[in-house]
Amino acid sequence: MDLLINGQPMPLPDDAVDPAMPLLWVLRDALNLTGTKFGCGVSACGACTVRVDGEPLRSCVTPLSQVQGKAIQTIEGLGTPETPHALQRAWVQHQVPQCGYCQSGMLMAAAALLDRNPRPTDADIDAALTNLCRCGTYPRVCAAIHDAARALQKDAPRPSAPASAARKAT
């Protein structure tokens, strides 16, 4: 059995996995790709979010059989140390993470959002980023997504780092 993860075919040991096994545990325990996190097991928190054929997907409730032959992207494949994704640069610029545990899922959900909606509004971010964060990084997540969106629009000038969250009181 093979999975296509971050552009690489990954062979799975037959005796280690089961078609019913959720993708989360295949990634974490069979492949040691521990960047994708376990938070709730019931698709409620989004810490396990990966992208499958570009779409955000909660891997804790997705059986292996459903992702066979599809392109899976995890946080390990979002960028590289030399060329981080625009979101990862914005994450550093805005100093988004606190404990950091939910951030892989946040970033993968945000990456999926920006691919289908390059200039999301606050309301678009509210609707797409349903991931839970116990530390309260939400205002920074929001600001960093806006910043990454601007950075990805190559013709738009690169804004300087705002001192506080970009969102305005409504």
Binding site: K37, S164, T170
Partner: protein, 764 residues
């Protein structure tokens, strides 16, 4: 000698010894070079600092990083005093020595009133108490990250360790170059003598420095700081943005097995017969079953070891287990809530409970007020049990092999984890190594290391292979050490000017510290509970001037496991006290900000932080149509925070904006302070709007996030934080942002609707 005389003599001698001990200088926290393990080319200069061959610095990191930014802030203190770039400091986990113990956390447990400990004007009692407890804490050396104390605790010793190392490096350069110390400078890790044009990095002088006398060591004056007070980037943000940060669940030692845990659903109960064990263990990927004892406060249960977490979880879920209820009988949170209110009312009516603060002659003043035409305001408040619900579920990895134990844990208490592991494995503490990972949220839950005993119990039977125990979210939420439920009754008589002349408060709630010590430090517990301010804090220590007061707390023991939850007693007591002050302002017909300011005579820092929040929120202006504002001011962990919340409620509640002002003394990293305020506010809004744990027949009803909602991104208001410049010693920021948000929100809802809510969570 008669026994009585002998006892008196012994007590006198003991007292004299105690006084003598108290006068000795407290144990130094500089530490010896031998505390640090050396890699090739490294030189240790004291118990905190090593210099590497390339001139970079290795800092022994004694505290746990759980999002609050201490790994960065502590490195900043060291980089500042050493005059080296923050990026040249690498962290290595500190070992187990008393220099790494948390002194400030124990000192902060003393129930002093803020009016007695204004910086620079502390009373003799405060000075003496803090000195003795501080000295004792240095002897105990208990390493804990909690109570928002990391920076306050490290402020002097860590800067001193760095300054001492710097003095030795400069001394070594002075001897080698034969130039006076005063002419040698250090900048960004380069030691230089301008006149002779000589220079070199730390690594070139480290070996000589280790044997060089320090000379006089002076901390840098504030005006020469280049790092402290500036928003340096965190040293963990890149790893937390690319998936490479290692939390407890991410360690993968060679040959790792996984185990899923299932404890008795009734807290304090235990598994009895398991009817399908053989059948379950025949499942592919399931390896063996381990019964888990009720150690360190845990509820007993079972674990199944498996090839993956999923295989183990599937198997443990499939077990058919007969559960026995707790021997002392089951408990219900609804009944406990009623009992707590009854207990608070009794203490209120009968001068009961432990009076943490008394002032004036309350009984006479109350008697004089009755029938005088003065107005009284009386109200009672309630708060529920709460779960920590950190995103990283409880877990621990352990290997027991050849008489040695290795533990990988996301823990706030590595020393306690080591002691519990040793006890669970039946080995000496020296045979245990604890690796502290990053914590996927702590919030006080990981001040308990109960789960370490489970990991060791399982690892004892896996033939030397390491095993990672994992609690499902359901296990995590239903087997927490909960924020205790609480109740308070308050009454104030108002004078002709509307100001309170009397204040009587009686609260009731379970004591936390004695229960925590029974679990983690049983050798420090006594036959009776010592007075515990942890659930009384936030009521007895109000800053407001009221001539006659009695603020008492009745410590209870309700049978639910309770623990430290972010901001601890302040988390609910600020809701009680700051809602009540709002009620007094309303009764007096006065503006809530102006009313509070009128009661803050002699407390200029409190008044300043309140004014700042009010000004920045435009308190004096009328809110937009359909909206209202509420305010709260609260001091916790030495930090003063005021918040103004703006809300509307048609058609549904929207929190538009929170303006936060904070005075935490000297700011080490303003970017982290601002984010910790945001963090406390979001955490506190979850509690104010969604937070409750209900217990029926000892079984927790909320099992997972759909039952115990967290605030979402969409619900999060705009948050603006303003810092009060200060030269006082730094206080903590991990918790103080939380307490004012619930009362500020409740006060805003009152302003909007005219309905006063006196129970959490708020109904919206």
């Amino acid at each position: 000698m008669r026994r009585r005389t002998w006892l008196l003599g012994a007590t006198a001698a003991g007292g004299a010894l105690l006084v003598g001990w108290g006068l000795l200088p407290p144990r130094s926290r500089l530490g010896g070079k031998t505390l640090l393990a050396l890699q090739a080319g490294e030189v240790a200069l004291n118990g905190w600092i090593k210099i590497a061959a390339d001139g970079s610095v290795v800092l022994a990191m004694h505290r746990s990083e759980m999002g609050q930014g201490v790994h960065t802030a502590l490195a900043m203190l060291v980089a500042e005093e050493l005059d080296i770039g923050l990026d040249r400091i690498r962290l290595e986990q500190a070992g187990h020595d008393s220099i790494y113990g948390n002194v400030a956390m124990f000192v902060a447990a003393l129930p002093f009133h803020p009016r007695d400990k204004e910086p620079g004007h502390e009373t003799d009692g405060v000075r003496l108490g803090e000195r003795l407890v501080g000295k004792l804490a240095r002897e105990l050396g208990i390493n804990a990250t909690g109570g928002s104390t990391t920076i306050a605790d490290a402020w002097e010793p860590l800067r001193l360790a760095a300054a001492t190392a710097r003095a030795q490096l400069v001394g070594a350069a002075s001897l080698r170059w034969r130039q006076p110390r005063e002419e040698i400078t250090v900048q960004r890790g380069v030691i230089a003598h301008a006149a002779s044009g000589t220079r070199g990095h730390f690594g070139e002088f480290a070996a000589a420095a280790a044997g060089t006398p320090t000379g006089e060591v002076r901390l840098k004056p504030r005006e020469t700081w280049t790092l402290i007070g500036r928003p340096a980037p965190r040293n963990d943000v890149v790893a937390k943005s690319n998936g490479s940060a290692v939390f407890g669940l991410d360690v993968r030692p060679e040959g790792l097995l996984y185990a899923a845990v299932r404890m008795c659903p009734m807290l304090g109960g235990a598994p009895q017969r398991i009817t399908n064990e053989d059948e379950v263990l025949r499942r592919p990927g399931a390896l063996r079953l381990v019964r888990l004892p009720a150690l360190a406060g845990l509820t007993a249960g079972v674990a199944v070891v498996g090839r993956s977490t999923w295989h183990a979880q599937q198997a443990v879920d499939a077990l058919a287990i007969d559960w026995a209820p707790p021997p002392a009988g089951t408990v219900d949170s609804a009944a406990i809530a009623t009992a707590l209110e009854t207990r608070a009312r009794e203490a209120f009516a009968n001068d009961g409970g432990l009076p943490f603060h008394s002032r004036g002659d309350l009984a006479a003043a109350e008697q004089a007020a009755v029938g005088s035409g003065a107005r009284a305001v009386e109200a009672s408040y309630r708060a529920p049990y709460l779960a920590h619900a950190a995103l990283e579920p409880i877990n621990c990895t352990a290997r027991v092999k050849d008489g040695r134990v290795e533990v990988w844990a996301s823990t706030q208490v590595p020393g306690i984890a080591r002691a519990l592991a040793a006890r669970a494995a039946g080995v000496e503490e020296e045979a245990v190594t604890v690796h502290v990972t990053l914590l996927g949220g702590g919030f006080g839950r990981r001040l308990d290391a109960d789960f370490v005993t489970q990991a060791v119990a399982v690892a004892r039977v896996t033939g030397g292979r390491p095993v990672q125990i994992v609690w499902s979210r359901e296990q995590d939420m239903t087997h927490d050490y909960y924020r205790p439920a609480g109740a308070a009754v308050m009454k104030a008589w108002l004078g002709a000017d509307g100001k309170p002349q009397t204040l009587r408060i009686a609260s009731a709630g379970d004591a936390i510290t004695p229960r925590w010590m029974e679990r983690g430090l049983p050798w420090l517990t006594g036959p009776v509970d010592a007075p515990d301010k942890s659930t009384a804090e936030g009521l007895f220590d109000l800053p407001y001037e009221v001539p006659h007061q009695r603020i008492a707390h009745a410590a209870t023991r309700s049978g639910v496991p309770v623990g430290y939850w972010r901001a601890v007693g302040h988390s609910h007591n600020a809701f009680f006290s700051e809602s009540f002050v709002d009620e007094l302002a309303q009764a007096a017909g006065q503006d809530p900000v102006a009313y509070r300011l009128s009661l803050l005579g002699g407390m200029p820092r409190h008044a300043a932080v309140l004014r700042l929040a009010a000004d920045k929120a435009g308190w004096g202006s009328k809110p937009p149509a359909g909206r209202a504002r509420g305010v709260a001011l609260h001091e916790s962990f030495g930090t003063l925070v005021a918040q103004v919340v703006e809300v509307s409620a048609a058609p549904k509640l929207v929190i538009h904006r929170v303006v936060c002002a904070v005075d935490c003394g000297t700011v080490v990293n303003p970017a982290i302070v601002v984010r910790q305020m945001e963090s406390g506010i979001v955490f506190g809004l979850t509690a104010a709007l969604h937070g409750r744990i209900d217990i029926v027949a000892s079984e927790v009803q909320q099992k997972n996030y759909p039952d115990q909602k967290l605030l979402t991104l969409a619900e999060t208001p705009v948050i603006e934080t303003h810092l009060v410049p200060s030269t006082h010693a730094p206080a903590g920021v991990g918790e103080p942002g939380l307490p004012p948000i619930a009362p500020a929100l409740a006060n805003a809802l009152f302003a909007l609707t005219g309905v006063r809510q006196r129970e959490l969570p708020l109904k919206v």
